[in-house]
Structures are given as C-alpha cells and as structure tokens.
Symmetry: C2
Subunit: 331 residues, 2 copies
Amino acid sequence: MKKFNIGILGATGAVGQEMMKILAERDFPVNELRLLASKNSAGKRIGDYTVCEACAENFKGLDIILGAAENDIAERFIDDIKASGAVFIDNSSAFRLDPDVPLIVPEINPEDVKKHKGVISNPNCTTVISCTAVNALNSVSPIESMVVSSYQAVSGAGANGPKELFNEVDALAKGEEYAPRVFQHQIAYNVIPQIGGEQFMGYTSEEMKLQNEGRRIMHLPELKVSCTCVRVPVVRSHSVSICLKTREKISVEKARELISAAAGCKLVDDLDNQLYPMPLATSNQDLVFVGRIREDLTDERGLNIWCCGDQVRKGAATNAVQIAELVIKEL
Amino acid sequence: MKKFNIGILGATGAVGQEMMKILAERDFPVNELRLLASKNSAGKRIGDYTVCEACAENFKGLDIILGAAENDIAERFIDDIKASGAVFIDNSSAFRLDPDVPLIVPEINPEDVKKHKGVISNPNCTTVISCTAVNALNSVSPIESMVVSSYQAVSGAGANGPKELFNEVDALAKGEEYAPRVFQHQIAYNVIPQIGGEQFMGYTSEEMKLQNEGRRIMHLPELKVSCTCVRVPVVRSHSVSICLKTREKISVEKARELISAAAGCKLVDDLDNQLYPMPLATSNQDLVFVGRIREDLTDERGLNIWCCGDQVRKGAATNAVQIAELVIKEL
C-alpha cells in the first residue's frame, strides 16, 4: 500500500496535536510525518518527532500538508506550499470562500475534492457539526433557512481556552482576581454572546460562517442563516440549537429516520429517558449527536433540532484527516 | 399611608427569601410580615421573624399572600387563601393559564390586575425576561412568532441548584465522584437541553411557557413560539436568544430606540466595545438587559435579540412585589 509524506502546519497547537492523534488512530498510510511550527518551537520534541520550522525548504517532499494554524500563518505560507507541490488541507478560514478552493465535509460533499487546485479548506467547527446534523434532511428537501443559537466550548479558542476557564474557577474559589486574556470577559459561570469581531450587519465573523460556508458545503447557494454564537463554560464539544425550514415539510418521524441513517450522525432523542446530546457525552469521539427533534411551532415546514459534536475532532482535526483520506485516493 | 399585612408562602426558599429582601428594598408599606412555610420550618428564625406553619388559621388577617412555593403547595392552599380574603400573588405555574387569573408583568399589562378575583399569577421567569425585552416592539407592530433558545442559570432550580454546581466543580477538581440530584445530569462544564418533562409534541413544560404565558401577558392570542430551553453552568441570570417576527418590519435602529425607552429594559448593544448583556453583569438587579439586535437574515420582518435578566429578581420575586404594588392601589 502506498504511503504518504504528511506535514502538519501548526503542529504544536490543540488542533495540530489532535491531527497527530487522529492520523495514528485511523491508520492513515503515513510514510514521513513532519511537524511544522514557528521558529520558536523548532527543535522541540513531541513524542518520537522533532518539530521543524515552517518554511519553504521544509515543505519540500510532502504530499499533503494539514493546516492547523490561524489565517495569517496560512496566508503567509500558501505560495510556498503551492510551490512545494503538496496538497494543502487548511483549517483556517483564509480560503474557505475562494471559489477555487473546495470546502469539504466528507459525509456531505466528498465529490468536491476532485475540483481542488492544490488547496482544500476544512470548514468552521460549528458549521461542520451543524451541516453534518442537518444534511440528511437537505438531501430529501432543500433547506431554505436556519435560525441558530450556539453553545460553544472554550477549547474552540485553542488550548488556552480551557486553561483560562479553570484558572478563573480556581481564582473565584479562592476569592482572588483573574483578568481574562483569551476571552473578552470572565467565562467561568458566565456566557459570552460574542465569538469573533463584527463582520456583517451586526453579526460576528463566527456567526456568518454557517451561512457562507454552509451554502458551499451543502450546495445551497440561497441558504439563509441567522446565527447567534455564544461561548459557554464547557470544556469541549459545541452544542447547537437549530430551527430550520425545508422547501417541503419533513415530519419528525421522517427526520429521525433520516438522521439515524446519516453518515457521521448518531440519533439520541428520547426525552422521557433524559437522553439527548450533551457536550460531556459527545467529547473525544467523531460523531455528531442529534436529538430534541420537534416540529417548529412557528412554521409548518420547520423543524427544531439540537446537536452536539466534538469541535476539535469532527469540527476540525478528524474532518481534515477524512479529507486527506479522500485526497490520497486521487494521488 | 396605609400599611398592609403581607404573607410569604414558601418563605424559606430562594424566591421567598428574595421577596423578603425586595419588600424591604422597595419600601413596600408593610404592617405585618408573616413568613409561612412547612410544619418542619415552623419556629425557625429568619432575621427578626419567626416562621409559622402555612395553614388556614395562619392566613387570616393578611391582605396579600406572595406565593413562592411549588404547584402542589399552591394548589393545596388555594381554597384556604381565598377563604381568608387575602389576594394571592402566586409564583407557581398552577393557575397561570386560568382565564380568571390575571398573569402580569407590570411593565406590560398592569391594567389586567383589575380583573383579578383573589388570585394573580406571576409568570415563568424566562417568560418575564423575554416579554419585558420584546414588548416595546410589540407595542409598535404585533409579534407574530418567536424562535427562542435559552441559557438558564442553575439558581432557576432553587437554592440547591448552585450548591450542586459548586459541589460538582469541587468534586471534579479533586477527582471525586458526585451523583447529580437536582439536575438530570452533571451540569458543571456541561449544558443540559432539558428543563421540565415532556408536555406537548416533544416540547418540555418549560419550553411551552413562553408561548402559552406570552400570549396572555402581551395580549397576543395567536403568538407562536418555538422554544428550546437549556440549563447552563451559570449561577444566576437567564439569557435568551430570540429571533422574532413582527407583522410589519421594524428596523434595527427603531428597535434600539424603542427598547432603550422601554420600562424595565436597559439597552446594552455595542459589539465593537464588547458590550452586550451577560449573566454576570445582570445579576442582583431588576432590569432586563437587551443587546445584539440584528436584522434576521432569514426573514425581512425578523429581528434577532439577545437578553439577560436576573430570574430570581425580575423573573420572580421583584415581579411579584411589583404586582403587589399594583394591587394595593386597588385595596
């Protein structure tokens, strides 16, 4: 079996570390694994690997580079990566809306991978989770709109998110002060209705992603999404409350049937027995859990849905490795 | 100035205790304050007061009884209270949908107090907060529907809610086990998409209150509300994400103007400066904070709104005392 040379750009961060773990878990056919990070991290040991500096020289000879860095890093290295000939599967939002860059959730639009020109984008975490949850409905009747409120875990802000939450909890217990650095305000015992800065008509950058990226992933150019993104004091797994409208009515029973059969989804929908998706129960795994499916009482073509998924895994690292699995079929 | 004999039924609970505080804060003209609770609590001292047993004998001579107990207690004593001649302002949900019982938010429908026949209901906490936030819009163009997701604090479950949250946080820090008693599942570092049991088409009792009670409070018999109620690890103050549709379009600018002038509301809506309602900043006060006002991207007659309020105060105790202030004008 052919094996591939894989780089991880931003290997020392939370998503980069998870990518390493998931490549191993899924027995990805790796020949060489090269950990790429800033000059400061170069030389650092992670397991059996030594981190090397991200630079044009060190991209050479790689088949695929998994991007786990922020937009500025992705933008800085995009030309060098292209020149290296490696396929770049990027988790930043830098290229997600570029029409030349496929935006992929492998359970939804795997065929779009074939259109790539060297760069493929991994979608926003809340978008991956929400689209995976609702796509089975979309395949029966197009989704016209979604009203969404999110409950996003602190690890969505990287490894420093959980540290800040625990530091705050600790400081509060001791009656000490703790000045927030990662989040805009204290997140312990609080919720913060802001993720990202303002982008469009009072919506934040994070709030616009589900509409803009969802359109590309689900091939719904007219999809309308009104999103309110909220940070909650949860360590891992994002939860999303979705009220969606399909062109034709889909019954609750049909929706349950479709979602329980959908790739990447697990239906957990039994209120009487207190069973529904929750962040605690959906962390450290790859499925999107879906439940609380109800007819929308405001619109006969609407459905209410609640879903949770591990945003570091399915929302980022796992989805990227799944894209890599599609890419190597073409290599 | 005339003074009144006031009873608090369920005086030892979280809401009962808050009512005592608020009667004092607002200089309510109290002649006698009688704390009523179960036989077990009778004789207990609270400040300068001695708790007496809730029973027909002890309701005599009271002008107003503020109910801070659960439905079963309210139902058990309703006949005795009526026989006593006291006006019963009840915080339980037992009589809220009874057409003979006015359901009041003093900033919204104070005139309904005049219709009472001895019993007035205090609405559900999330309903008080949400209706106070949106009513100014309703006064300009009727609200047709609302899609709502809530972020409800643990103190909404009474004084044992915060205890359980802190016990769990503590147990987790020590690596110990803690079996949830108040909530269905661990609430520390988690969110639970269930408040109440199933009531209607998969919606919980809590989720149906905003529609059923909102219709009576805002005089909107056709109001449609799709609600998802979620418990979050916040100590105090509920937050609510509302996407509402009015009969005629209301602009964001107009909505801001209306809400900033509305009784009981405080507009906090400046994303650039990271200012918006949050539970931490809205606890231990009586206003409903409103912000993140945006045009709904899915419907031109829609608006997205985020609001927070202290559910023990405006959501329960303060609202009840405000109703009592209306009642004594008629006595």
